[in-house]
Symmetry: C2
């Protein structure tokens, strides 16, 4: 059993998620093992970075699968790079563990290495400490100077889009504790959406010169779109009958509330000038990813939602962190 | 009382440590409040970054002063930038809190803002979550391409130096629980060294073209110097009678063990070609900081320590994280 922090890093991370591939060798000048990691940001590009913390019993259930946890933690964090239109580069992991459990570390680190490879990031540093199970990941990427997607650029007349489908992960929460053999196909689908969100990196990359504002949906569409309108100084109108709802979610009954107020889907919500509608249709086809027009930006402030009968609908609040 | 994560960030961090000064405006293109922060790394420079986690009851005592905690957390992390010769730029804070305690947040954020200003870094992002008290800070700096100080460059014949004095913070641990009125002047001095370590940023910056290897002493001189010799593929000889020991530590009795095996001082240990001895003397004078020659690098592996009688001395191990 490994006794020291150095053993753990060497055994589980340096040769896994920390292994610098040829593709990353130009960027990662010094990875795990020194006081600082050294990264060469591509010439003409800016550094984009984001941090996410996951705490046991708050952001994931007790005794959660270490493999799912590793993938989900990295996906959630990389999703912020996607929302900013970044090309992914690297990440760090601050991992706090109550005990050194070799099986847990084996599963966690193997899944982390696989997810890092899938998302195109390499582990370049971190800290391993003893304490209640939690982790903070910081992801880093880059984009040409001035081209990062921000929340603040939405313009009056822009169309509002959502990628994929929303609400699935929220609906999955009700099935989290159930035995696998008791799950039906819909529940299995929803759980997969919760456990293994897909950061929309390719979409974010393509939106660099197309979207005026973007955000990833982590707190719920209503809450996250409200961030866009607040910092952009505009108002948004959502047509609820247009929300992209998966067949599985449709059959659970509570689709609109889940779609509007449930977080954890990590789809992108973005705004686009109305003149670019055709470009979005082409992009949707080329990415093989639904990009659904759900509303528009107008003058004013706040968010108004209309149901199929054109009645005003009040969404519940997004995820409250405290 | 602030109820949401957004309130907390807005009230305590955005206008404090997150306030972008004119000096940082060129670097910080987008700070707190978007999916990603956007940093412009100076042209021709590489990004240097490091992460440190502090967990309550492991890295700091329960009910520790939030002001001391903020300063110490940032200092410990910035110390890694110093050891790499970086110019400090920015940092992120992943803060996990059991409850929203307004007094605690007030004191913590005010001290963090002051420390950030002192160390020349601006808070550009993070995550605020609920859970057992802990925090991960990631600091970022830059250095001209290829000039970052690494642990791996020590050469046979190099001299080994240590900044300031070592062992003070370790000796302070014995006084941590004592009532202030029961402390003598020596204990007060040692405690100040523990509570408020000084990252040696100016020294690290000047060592860029002078030192062959450097590390900050967080786990103890013996352990940290061993990292240098292991990754450099050389051996080190330490003359214990040359270790820079403060008068206060000298009077506690256990000076050599504290100096050799006690962590938390955050002084720098570095190696320099013997031909540059005079440059170090000049640097010491210009920085008004003791830079003490404590040994040399030779062929072989491992670390040998000799006491004043030239007897071999076995250091205890450094700080074990697990």
């Amino acid at each position: 059993m490994p006794a020291t922090e150095f053993d753990i890093i060497q055994r589980y991370f340096r040769e896994g998620a920390g292994k610098v591939s040829d593709a990353h060798a130009k960027t990662v000048r010094c990875g795990i093992g020194d006081d600082c990691a050294v990264l060469a940001i591509p010439a003409g590009e800016e550094l984009l970075l984001s941090v996410d913390t996951l705490v046991e019993s708050v952001h994931f259930p007790k005794a959660y699968s270490p493999a799912l946890l590793a993938r989900r933690a990295l996906a959630v964090c990389v999703s912020d790079l996607a929302a900013s239109g970044a090309s992914p580069l690297a990440f760090t992991l601050a991992l706090t563990l109550p005990v050194v459990d070799e099986n847990w570390l084996c599963e966690f680190s193997a899944a982390l290495a696989q997810a890092a490879s899938e998302f195109g990031v390499v582990l370049v540093g971190g800290d391993t400490t003893r304490g209640p199970l939690c982790m903070s990941l910081q992801v880093m990427g880059s984009a040409p100077a001035g081209q990062a997607l921000l929340r603040s650029g939405a313009q009056i007349g822009d169309l509002i889009y959502v990628s994929g489908s929303v609400g699935d992960a929220h609906a999955a929460l009700a099935c989290l504790g159930q035995a696998p053999q008791n799950l039906n196909d819909d529940q299995r689908y929803l759980l997969a959406r919760y456990h293994a969100p897909t950061p929309r990196l390719a979409l974010g990359f393509k939106l660099r010169n197309l979207a005026t504002a973007a955000i990833d949906i982590s707190d719920g569409l209503a809450a996250d779109l409200t961030h866009i309108v607040n910092v952009s100084g505009v108002a948004a109108v959502l047509n609820l009958q247009n929300l992209p709802i998966s067949p599985a979610l449709q059959r659970t009954g509570d689709a609109i509330d889940s779609a509007l107020s449930g977080g954890d889907d990590y789809e992108l919500c973005f705004t686009v000038p109305a003149s670019r509608r055709a470009d979005i249709a082409v992009l949707s086809e080329s990415l093989n990813l639904a990009l659904t027009e759900v509303g528009y930006i107008e003058a004013g402030s706040g968010l108004r939602c209309y149901d199929a009968q054109q009645n005003l609908y009040s969404p519940r609040g997004g995820y409250q962190h405290f």
